[in-house]
Amino acid sequence: MSAFWVLVGWAVREAVRRRVFLVVGVLTIGYLALYSLGTRVAFRSLGDDGPNGVAVDTHDLAGATLTGLAMFAVLFLGSVLAVFLGVAAFRGDAEAGLLQPIVTRPVGRGVVVLSRAAAAAVVSGGYVAVVYALSLLVVQVNGSWSPSSPLGPGARLVAAVVVVSALCVLGSTVLSTVANGIATFMVFGAGLFAGLMGQVARGIGSTTLQHVATGVSWGLPFEALYQDGLAALGSQQDGLTKTLVQLGPFGGGAPASHWLWAYLVGYLALVLGAAVLVATRRDL
């Protein structure tokens, strides 16, 4: 087995065996319990019409909106986990003295960085897939609703968290643990904010704001993936129901370009390539 896979396996084991992972498990159970309660109450409280007698398919609207809410929660929880796993991947571990015994083995620093990024992506991506699936199950059980194509939004959420993991690992080659954690969360927040700003821009017809929001989405594609996932969620509705679903609970959906996935591959290669380059040149 190559050093890369040895280190991926080691980092995955480290991720799931550290005590903090128990906290993640407990918080996830708490989220699912709260989400289940909210979903149950929401579906039981549904009337035939929307607010002020507006004619919408309330069952469809509730199902899609609650699933959109779950997508946001899962993206947030998955990103927190991705940051936790990648925040000290390089410089933090070097400052703690954990990295030096590894990189003095016949293993390239690039292999160490890529293996840490891969492990963070596998664990946080797997976590997102599982919690997203459980959230869909909650909506199905409580409201007998499910999206027409559940895999698409889920795949976009997983990819979004992989992007956050890669950015966090890149940050770890430059910044110390605390600084990297703060920086990654600020980048994450900036991406979400740009998504909201783009929605406002479309509402008020501001092309300048739309351009800014689009630019940020290219720079931070996890936001574009989230919006594309929300758009896929609303694809089975029509009319006013579709419009309301597209508004989303935390930023609206917007279909992405067909080139998003190809762009994503190039983007990850660029981010991880930069991480390897910085790690190789840095004194430890």
Binding site: R18, Q100, P101, R105
Partner: protein
């Protein structure tokens, strides 16, 4: 450094001892000059295959066991993942039977012993030890000395970076004293110490023999015994390594 040679690296704080060790490991890039390890450029794969490194900050992942950590290093070093070899290494550093002990359950001294065992994985030709006894009690220090002597017998070259002069004096074949990144003194501990004579304790009392060197001790003792004297102890007079160290370091600074 030659195979089986133990070289002690001494110097005040900031002299560049750890930096030199890190440069040999490829952890830092030299601003000028070149470091070669076993004929290969420092930091290259060929160099890293042949060296073992115990860093001054020797933390290990808290969540894993001693056996898991050693197994990881076996796999990274390209060594056979032999459980028997892992047990052997743990026994060598005084942690027999503790394969399943988690790192977070270890004392600082035990963790340093484990770090030493880790550095020995892959049977390195050159071992770089940066303050290997900083967390050890006297028993642990003696054990490390025994390990170093064992390694010397195995033909492993060891570079020992330590502040403990007595330790260096006891085990090292050669000593280099660094100041501000430069070697200001080098030689065997005996050469550097320059003893000014010997103090011999006999039944008649303590006698001083000025100018007598270490090599002259057997002949001197034989002569005294031949004269019917009872010899209880022989001690070098003055000129300890500490004096040589202070002279080298302070001489440079003045």
């Amino acid at each position: 450094m030659q195979p089986g040679e133990l070289v002690g690296l001494l110097g005040p704080n900031g002299a560049g001892k750890s930096t030199l060790v890190k440069a040999a490991c490829g952890l830092v890039h030299p601003t000028s000059g070149e470091v070669r390890v076993c004929g290969a450029p420092a930091g290259s794969r060929a160099a890293r295959v042949r060296l073992g490194y115990l860093p001054e900050t020797f933390r290990q992942p808290a969540w894993c066991t001693a056996d898991e950590l050693l197994r990881l290093h076996q796999r990274l070093a390209g060594a056979a993942p032999s459980a028997a070899r892992r047990s052997e290494l743990l026994t060598l550093v005084g942690l027999p039977g503790l394969e399943r002990l988690r790192v977070d359950a270890m004392s600082k001294g035990m963790a340093q012993r484990l770090a030493l065992a880790t550095s020995l994985v892959g049977s390195p030709a050159l071992l770089l030890l940066d303050e290997p006894t900083s967390a050890l009690d006297p028993v642990g220090r003696r054990l490390v000395r025994q390990v170093l002597e064992h390694l010397r017998d195995q033909g492993v070259a060891v570079l020992l970076n330590s502040h403990l002069l007595s330790e260096v004096e006891l085990v090292c074949d050669r000593v280099a004293i660094l100041r501000a990144g430069r070697v200001v003194a080098e030689g065997t501990p005996q050469e550097l110490s320059h003893p000014s004579g010997l103090e011999v304790e006999t039944a008649l009392g303590t006698q001083v023999f000025a100018g007598v060197r270490r090599e002259d001790v057997p002949a001197l003792v034989a002569r005294l015994v031949g004269e019917g004297q009872q010899v209880y102890a022989v001690r070098p007079l003055g000129g300890a390594l500490e004096d040589a160290y202070l002279a080298a370091v302070e001489g440079e600074s003045s």
